[in-house]
Subunit: 582 residues, 2 copies
């Protein structure tokens, strides 16, 4: 796709049924028709095939997922629960429809994609509910308690660690799809505060706010298909988190329906009124209550949005440059610095006409090589904000980057990145068609430990891939999400055993475990922005310490004593390893 | 005192016994010899006396506090507890000494000062412990659990809401004075992370860090006499919180000794590993554990520290100017904007040679009056940081302030303010010598509600003072601690009934309740930075909502099931009203 056309992955938020455009196809990422644009990426396959030099033939496509072959187990008896809600949720908004059950059976982790393709759906929900108001959510929760039903709050279903997936469970399970609660309730322009229903998808949040001159500024890679409530429940981070904060920094107030009543966190700019409860509910992964409304900090639409590409002689130079920005107190709104290996991947995987291919041409490469950029590291740089502030920021940041060898490649490539920034997850599905594991693992650590972590974890994951697949793999990394004391380190991985779908999950598990082990050993974060779920659950005890885990359990029990809300997340089931992951 | 001399209230952190210089006299604010410098404030009494125009005579001084008249009740039996700790804490570091018990009986609220002067000390601790290591704190906590003793973590004892005060209690009570744990343990310069023991007083924190080129940047009014652990336990805010954040924004990791084990919050720049536990422990007011070490975000010593005074035609103009700064994303490091009334108070109460008296002289006043500054509002403005950033900030902020009528009075008055900024609490003691209630009440609210809150709460407190004392009182306010969505509103109050010590507490309670009632009605914070304790306890249920209160109780119980740590804070006793407040 060209950088000036809108990418096909962003539907129109004003479409007639506001939820539909943002719903995934049943078996993968993105809407039914959306696909990865391989035609425009002629360098990708040759580069992939060059990685192990054993063949120059693209592997055979694996079988297409077959909806007809999937038969979900019969729903459990939910008659009493349905009767209790008969006057609340009309026909169609509390449904046992098999397509809906399948759509809500998984998130969109790599394993979820594999299991959907192989028809391995052991624990679908028995019903799916579509409430349209906080009162309806209260009725759902009350009925769940009365009839011993388990509820799973569900936003866009993009979670990649199992947060929305039912586990083996004797009680009936009802997924609560929040996406019909998608209104901007109130906007206080002077305070920069918006009350939003949490079922809004990213494009809906932005469309509603931008119509009034505001933005939330939260743009995770999942933006198009994820919701405000999901972001809050999992402590999500958007690409411009340097400017606008992680989602937990944006939450000012919350309305949460819990099995023991409505919990309201007053919207306050700051307070000293005991522990900050909104920081406890943010990251609760559905276990403490269903978040129905959030008062969010919003910003006037930035007057400047300047995105550009910067080339560094090395990853190390780029890290020094970012640290220099942090030290001078001039944090770029976005900075995503790839290491040399990921830079190579990007150069070969970006669409034609992004401006990047120019840097692969021989004369340009030669020119760059002579100047020390023979194995460069690429940075995507974003500067946003009110004009005067942004101009000062751009000037200061570019000066610091130059001092560390940063070569400004200009705005064309930056704009191209911005236009297609939500396309990355499609690549994972595309590669999976050919039996590739493609995924990302992320953490966060201090500036003092960042380079050492990078130097340890990349070879460890490379070695795990080699061991698991018997072949060399691609493992690259980038630094993004800057903080005064450290940053996020984000690995991108591609590996291929050629052994077919049935081996992929075990192969993936081994590779992922290699990454997580290093993160934990190095004192880095278990995750920077992808939550715990069951994927990180077994590591949670070490992460939070024994009393910390007890504290979380007590918090959950105080609000949901009967375990009626996503009881497999955070708690003992997650920490001991869920049975749900076969 | 002159603006260039160091104020006598900041002792030398390198003094031989590092704790001593920062300890309060037993009956009031500040070290034994420190006193409010009235000689240098010739305009103060005439202005006070002009408030109700009934007399031009300074009221009689009330009796001096008399240590000899205070006899504490006999300590309860702590033999078993002491025996258990005999090998851990040597003689003198676990003591029943009456002077130490008295020093640790109260914080420094207005009521505490009155009670010390009247010898009303109903619930002193039975023992005071002075641990020097985390292991000693663990031994104390273990012995408390084993022998059913209640512990109160105690830093500098400046708390003004009762957080360090024992309540009526059948169990023995031991105050744990943390001020011997006062070392900088580790400094990671590249990450800007310092591991600090929590018993460090403000000047010790800054001396240790500045010797290595760093600063924490936390300067509450209590700075000289309060500790890192106290700041964390109560969600303190320093004057430069716009630049460096509230204390909860600075905490990166925590080590906490709880009755159920050592809780460690890993130091991470950001994470998505479930609820953010450090935000739950920050603000725990001693109830969840004893915080022994904290990993704090620190900053290179700012290259620029530019403090100046700005005059606005009105409070409203100043508020608009601050909102303008926030909207342009250029937050001054410090901005304290007084309303017209507080400006008058400041002009009459600041020492000679601060530069402020010039503006009271007739020709200058006339000149100002002609230009619309006849009833002006004064702002203290601070710009700090790395040179380039600070220069841009100063330029931008001064431009915006000018656009709203801000008149730059220059740096002389700003430097004078900075030099004497920790002197304010001494005024409270001084006025109390003459039977005056002098105190401050603070909250926080959104920009959209700030002016309305100011317009309601100031007259309400004035009316309460008039009703309680039968005389006109002084009630002023300032805005400080700016956030994108709102700010702190801080009232300063002076009232005088002339009825003597025995009436002051009831008078104070009525005035304080009038302020709190409006804060709560307006949806503003119960407190912005002074914690809950027993003073705000009865309002906590409304503040956090019913499930929120249950959540806090569950968190406390999970870590301290036996209620061995400051059990009167946050929990049911605080919310129902402590018996400890007579």
């Amino acid at each position: 796709m060209s950088p000036t056309e809108p990418t096909p992955s962003i539907p129109d938020p004003a479409a007639s049924d506001a939820r539909e455009p943002f719903r995934h196809k049943w078996w993968g990422w993105g809407a039914e028709g959306a696909r990865f644009d391989i035609e425009n990426r002629p360098r990708l396959w040759p580069w992939i095939l060059s990685l192990d030099n054993q063949t120059d033939e693209i592997p055979a496509r694996l079988p297409e997922p077959d909806r007809a072959s999937i038969r979900l187990r019969s729903p459990r008896d939910t008659d009493a629960f349905r009767t209790a809600l008969a006057d609340v949720l009309p026909e169609g908004r509390l449904t046992g429809d098999e397509d809906e059950r399948l759509r809500h059976a998984f998130g969109r982790s790599f394993r979820d994609l594999v299991r959907l393709r192989t028809g391995d759906v052991p624990h679908p929900p028995d019903l799916v509910a579509f409430p349209e108001s906080t009162e309806e959510v209260e009725a759902l929760v009350a009925a769940a308690v009365a009839h011993d039903v388990v509820l799973i709050p569900f936003g866009g279903g993009t979670n990649i660690v199992g947060c929305v997936e039912p586990d083996a469970e004797v009680r009936p399970v009802v997924t609560v799809d929040m996406t019909r609660m998608n209104r901007l309730v109130e906007l206080d322009e002077r305070s920069g505060l918006a009350v939003l229903e949490t079922g809004m998808f990213g494009p809906q949040v932005e469309a509603a706010l931008r119509a009034r001159g505001f933005t939330l500024g939260h743009h995770p890679d999942s933006f198009v298909y994820s919701t405000l409530g999901g972001w809050i429940a999992t402590r999500s981070a958007g690409t411009q988190s340097n400017e606008y904060g992680k989602i937990e920094d944006m939450v000012v107030g919350l309305d949460v329906v819990t099995p023991t009543g409505r919990l309201r966190v007053k919207p306050l700019p700051a307070a000293s009124n005991g522990p900050d409860l909104k920081r406890l509910l943010t990251g609760s992964e559905g276990t403490m209550g269903i978040i129905t409304r959030a008062t969010m900090r919003v910003h006037p639409i930035p007057e400047v949005e300047d995105y550009r590409l910067i080339l560094f002689p090395s990853f190390r130079d780029g890290v020094q440059a970012l640290h220099g920005c942090v030290r001078e107190g001039v944090m770029p709104s976005l900075a995503r610095l790839s290491d040399e290996r990921e830079t190579e991947f990007i150069a070969h995987s970006r669409p034609v006409a992004t401006g990047l291919e120019r840097w692969l041409q021989k004369p340009v490469k030669a020119w760059l090589g002579l100047r020390g950029y023979d194995r460069p590291a690429l940075m995507i740089l974003g500067i946003e904000g009110p004009r005067r502030r942004a101009e000062h920021l751009r000037h200061s940041v570019l000066r610091i980057l130059r001092e560390h060898g940063g070569l400004d490649l200009g705005r064309k490539g930056g704009e191209a990145w911005k236009e297609s920034r939500y396309d990355v997850p499609y690549l994972r599905d595309y590669l999976l068609d050919y039996g590739f594991i493609g995924d990302s693992f992320e953490s966060a650590t201090s500036w003092g430990r960042l380079e050492e972590l990078h130097a340890r974890v990349v070879p460890a994951v490379e070695a795990a891939c080699q061991e698991v697949t018997g072949r060399p793999a691609y493992v690259g990394a980038h630094v993004s999400h800057l903080y005064e004391t450290g940053a996020c380190l984000y690995l991108t991985v591609g590996a291929h055993s050629g052994r077919g779908y049935e081996h992929l999950e075990a192969e993936y598990d081994a590779i992922k475990a290699a990454a997580t082990r290093i993160f934990v050993e190095e004192g880095a974060a278990l995750s920077h922005h992808h939550a715990v779920g069951y994927e990180h659950g077994p590591w949670l005890g070490a992460e939070l310490s024994e009393p910390g885990v007890r504290l979380v359990d007590a918090a959950v029990s105080s609000l949901d004593p009967g375990g009626h809300l996503a009881p497999w997340n955070l708690g003992p089931t997650a920490r001991q390893g869920r049975s749900g992951s076969p």
